[in-house]
């Protein structure tokens, strides 16, 4: 699999390590009311879709950036990749 790195172009997926669902970016507030339940959900529960999946890949043997890769789990086709930093900042701007 080749991952279209936004800064470096097509890179072999072997340069990356895989973390999982991109929803892991949205870490709950540990001080909030009901944080325990929110963390149990955050740490353990997954959508695990068959089809398009947004997921976190770490360019460990490259520029050490985190990417959000959109990939089809039924075909392994990679649709696109963005810097996880951009995704996170956009999320913050949207006030999520």
């Amino acid at each position: 699999m080749l991952i279209p790195h936004p800064l470096l172009g097509l890179r072999d997926a072997q340069e990356f390590t895989y973390l999982g669902d991109a929803s892991l970016i949205a870490r709950p507030d540990g001080m909030a009311e009901g944080a325990e339940a929110a963390f149990a959900e955050y740490v353990y529960q997954r959508d695990n879709p068959a089809g398009l999946h947004r997921e976190l890949w770490f360019h460990e043997q490259g520029d050490r950036s985190w990417l959000v890769v959109t990939r089809d789990t039924t075909t392994h086709e990679i649709i696109g990749a963005e810097l996880a930093r951009d995704v996170s900042l956009a999320r913050r701007e949207a006030g999520a």
Partner: protein
Amino acid sequence: MRFSGFRVLAEALTGHTGWRPLWRNPDPQPAYDYIIVGGGGHGLAAAYYLAKTFGKARIAVLEKGWLGSGNIGRNTTIIRSNYLLPGNQPFYEFSMKLWENLEQEFNFNAMVSQRGILNLIHSDGQRDAFRRRGNAILLSGADAELLNADQVRDMAPFLNFDNARFPIKGGLLQRRAGTARHDGVAWGYARGADLAGVDLIQNCEVTGFRIEGGAVRGVETSRGYIAAGKVGVAVAGSSSRVMQMAGMRLPIESHVLQAFVSEGLKPTIPGVITFGAGHFYVSQSDKGGLVFGGDLDGYNSYAQRGNLPTIEDVAEGGMALMPMIGRARLLRAWGGIMDMSMDGSPIIDKTPIDGLFLNAGWCYGGFKATPASGYAFAHLLATGTPHDTARGYRLDRFATGHVIDEKGVGATPNLH
């Protein structure tokens, strides 16, 4: 139709005209007391024990494709009970005891062969860990032996004992472990269930659950609505997809695991040999092919096929462990979809929806568990309480902190 040596002889003398299909192919009834979703190993075993051991009637197994078309037909056929943790080991030992009597139980040749499993040791630290594991296995009533390097050399002289990175210092041997004919297991359970009156309904995909007032009433299928008292889901690999139809999210990711078989060779490998340091394991089928595998590809997948880097990695592991494998030609490689749970252990439990039960999360260890999983699931469906050996496999253990993490790597499904 009972199978026996006499029967084979009689058929041989009469031109094999007396053999009949192993099970009926019935149309679904409008309602059942019990519906098992998934006609794989675990689902068929559950239906079998539900009918035979717990004496329940009006049972159906609904299968989207053909019986045994999922991971029961795609695995590397190893059976063993060499786990460490108290939540796991008694369950797998219960499974081993069922394996030992399985063929007599369901009168079908599942080719259960207790040829032993050898886990190799490469360092002092690993020996300490395996000694501890071996003691835990002995305490559970199962068997384990710690071997030194010479004893391993006697068993498997072809291994590379002097690998610079992972020299072989010994091994943990479980003699009662071994292999079984994976398809035969599914067919045996299917036939036994059918004889006990279970309707095995193929080409019948479940497309939804009918849930009213927090309780399941039946399932929508590609062959119409079927009402049910209790519904048990055993669809490992697709558990998240199916349970999503009941509005549930699971502590599971689906991953692809590849397996490989070489051309047929003369008897070479005495039993199952595992190389944990490099993650490679190998056995030899009765046809002579070397059956081997290694790590997951590592990313979520429903594709039932993996990619070349993992094949290369497994081949490297094989060459490091037993260089002679390089002379064998690879015949086939294939991939299966694993329910990778968040602690590496399975789930056999009721769900928050009344009457809906879940059997899932088998990671890549589901085959050896087939008899006990079926038995424990049938026990849960029939009695409403978990089987003694499966009490730890709760769905809510992640929220309550009672995880059963054999490998100790936390909520990282692709590392279990």
